[in-house]
């Protein structure tokens, strides 16, 4: 058989991109949006999407079959954004987008971009952040995304001296190749149990009972949190996680510590960067009142690969293969047994 379906499945869209592992690779990938197939919309929506491996489609491209406005008439077009990404090795930073500003507010907002293809929950690395050079090179999760900007929920920049007057963004993988991973620290409170803010969504990375080792350069102030300054060189332990605010609480009393603060932009490039936190195992504990264990989280605790590669990434949206929230999506992956003749 020249072309074989090697895998098939379905999911209900939550309006965010979906990664589908394709262990045999893919030469042809097809998606049906069964929900939209059964209805019509004032603005016709995509109901079937195709991807071909040879000739290889550009990143984010797809053949989209979409309905005519308010009728079942079918149209076909090639889309170049919001389609498929066939990922065979860990993704490198994507093409750069240039913006004009980042506010020095909590939370910071980046703006002035053109035709941003980003989704809520994506990660970006920012650089060329004129006036806010101290954040250049760090990774951030973006939210409230539009075609011209996004919010950096993990960057409380209200204490920064000035806004950035330029910024360049590249989308990167939301996770490192291996989890749990190191994270960039953007704030630490001075409290009996310190609250740590990180620049990226800590979901699937930080968990209650996790031990962490901080690396805080002197340029960020709170060096007392560095492990070699603690009485027993003990890692901090996570006691609570507030993933929605990119925050978690640790069992360290930082009340008397030097305040955590980003270095001034003018100190770059000589000020040591960044403040980071890295996984250091876990501590298994039992709470007899709640009858709960911590440190037995076998989903998040072990060091493991973040992605099973290769995979097919389906972008989300009304005209994208992963659909909109609530859509039922069926996908099929095809693989040729023999290579193609006369490929272009």
């Amino acid at each position: 058989m020249a072309l074989t379906i090697v895998n098939q499945g379905s999911f209900q869209s939550t309006g965010v991109p979906v990664n589908i592992p394709v262990p045999s690779g893919a030469d042809y990938f097809k998606v049906y949006n069964l929900t939209q197939m059964a209805t019509t919309q004032a603005t016709g929506r995509g109901v079937m999407f195709e991807w071909f491996g040879n000739p290889s489609f550009a990143v984010n491209s797809a053949v989209e079959w979409l309905k005519t406005n308010s009728t079942n008439g079918m149209n076909a077009t090639v889309i170049t954004t919001g389609g498929f990404n066939y990922i065979t090795s860990f993704p490198q930073p994507e093409a750069a987008f240039v913006g004009t500003a980042i506010t020095n507010a909590t939370s910071a907002v980046a703006s002035g971009f053109t035709s941003l293809p980003y989704n809520n929950g994506d990660s970006v690395v920012l650089y060329n952040t004129t006036g806010m050079a101290q954040i250049g090179g760090a990774a951030f999760t973006v939210s409230s995304v539009s075609s011209t900007g996004f919010t950096l929920l993990g960057l409380p920049a209200g204490t920064f001296a000035a806004p950035a007057t330029a910024v360049t963004a590249r989308r990167v993988s939301p996770f490192q190749p291996v989890l749990p991973e190191f994270m960039y620290v953007s704030a630490i409170s001075q409290a009996a149990q310190a609250v740590v803010t990180v620049t990226q969504d800590p979901t699937n990375v930080i968990y209650v009972g996790q031990k962490l080792v901080f690396q805080i350069p002197a340029s960020f102030g709170m060096v007392q949190l560095n492990n070699n300054n603690s009485p027993q060189s003990l890692p901090a332990v996570v006691t609570a996680v507030n993933a929605g605010a990119y925050q978690f609480t640790i069992n360290v009393n930082t009340t008397g510590f030097t305040a955590f603060a980003w270095p001034a932009s003018t100190a770059s490039p000589t000020a040591p960067l960044f403040a980071t936190v890295a996984p250091a195992g876990c501590s298994t504990q039992y709470n007899p009142q709640l009858q709960t264990y911590t440190g037995y989280n076998f989903n998040l605790q072990p060091f493991r690969s973040s992605y099973p590669l290769p995979l097919m990434n389906l972008q989300a949206g009304a005209q994208s293969p992963a659909g909109s929230n609530g859509d039922t999506i069926v996908w099929q992956c095809f693989k040729m047994e023999a290579p193609q003749y006369g490929a272009v």
């Binding site: 952040t129 890295a278 290579p339």
Partner: protein, 319 residues
């Protein structure tokens, strides 16, 4: 990566010319990322998660008995658990009979050797990814290229040594003692640093660098080793971790240099599942017995076992 059956369409027979008696070399990158990590073994039939545990040292605070007869408060012993998930990786080559029929050399033998090389290379890259993902790094700032991070400098290397020593990390490589040879210099007992071949010009330019040829003794040195700087001996690979286009302000490539001592990381092998090279004959693979199959499999789990004993630098190029 091209996939499918290897056949005479994508690998045409060599022309009927005289065939040289020796095959040319297959490129292989330096395998440096398993160097210095601890090797552990996972038992079979006990789940796919391996737990490694460490007892933390006791507090040295207090402890004096004042003669009142009151005992000191007992201390609760703390244990840190490090978990790692076993993962299995595989590669296969399906070969059409016309390849083995028409090719001059023994292709299945060569393909088997290629698979063996893949096993080692894949394992090396998986360990590289562990170091690049799960360790805290500091940007080099002692250079002069105007980037954040800058190129590597002596001050940056010394700072990492300070961090590791402050965390009671132990060196891994022994001293190479001085000898009465011109232009050589001894190296101290050292931590390990893993770097990209892209930054070797910058490594040569660091103050106080001792290139490998200037070690007093060459005995036992690995070909991957490049130089010694301060308390670190540097090993280089073309596949060491790097991220293109993210330095401040110019968007240059940023290179990651893990620097570590004893028991910083672990590689776990699976008992009853050693690395396997297998062969499925044509009558099994194909209904007309025309395609045979080679396959290569291995299992690995990996973990940072002591975050205090590993750190590193992010750097950019200057030279």
């Amino acid at each position: 990566m091209s996939t499918g059956i290897t056949n005479i369409i994508n690998m045409a027979p060599e022309l009927p010319l005289q065939w040289s008696e020796n095959l040319l070399s297959t490129p292989m990158f330096n395998l440096i990322h398993s160097f210095g990590c601890d090797l552990h073994f996972a038992e079979a039939h006990l789940g796919k998660t391996t737990r490694m545990s460490r007892y933390e040292r006791l507090s040295t605070d207090g402890g004096q008995l004042d003669g009142s007869g009151i005992d000191p408060a007992p201390e609760v012993v703390l244990r840190t658990d490090i978990d790692a998930t076993m993962e299995i990786y595989a590669k296969t080559i399906v070969t059409n009979e016309q390849i083995t029929l028409y090719e001059n050399d023994k292709v299945l033998t060569k393909f088997t050797a290629l698979g063996g090389q893949w096993l080692r290379e894949k394992e090396d890259l998986l360990m590289r990814d562990l170091y690049s993902s799960s360790v805290s790094y500091l940007n080099a700032t002692g250079g002069v290229n105007g980037q954040q991070p800058s190129e590597i400098s002596r001050a940056d290397v010394n700072n990492i040594e300070r961090i590791l020593l402050g965390n009671d990390a132990r060196t891994m490589l022994e001293v190479i003692e001085a000898e009465n040879k011109f232009s050589t210099a001894p190296t101290r007992d050292a931590f390990i640093a893993l770097a990209s071949t892209d930054i070797t010009p910058d490594l040569q330019n660091v103050q106080g660098v001792i290139l490998k040829n200037a070690y007093p003794s060459q005995e036992g040195l690995r070909p991957e080793e490049y130089c010694s700087i301060s308390r670190f001996r540097f090993f280089v690979s073309s596949k060491a971790a790097k991220t293109p286009g993210i330095s401040q302000p110019s968007g240059n490539t940023v290179y990651t240099i893990p620097m570590y001592g004893l028991e910083a990381a672990a590689k776990i092998e699976q008992n009853s599942y050693t690395a396997t090279v297998g062969y499925r004959p044509p009558w099994v693979v194909s209904s007309v017995a025309q395609n045979s199959q080679l396959y290569f499999k291995f299992a690995i789990a990996r973990a940072i076992t002591n975050q205090n004993w590993v750190s590193g630098l992010k750097v950019t190029q200057r030279l």
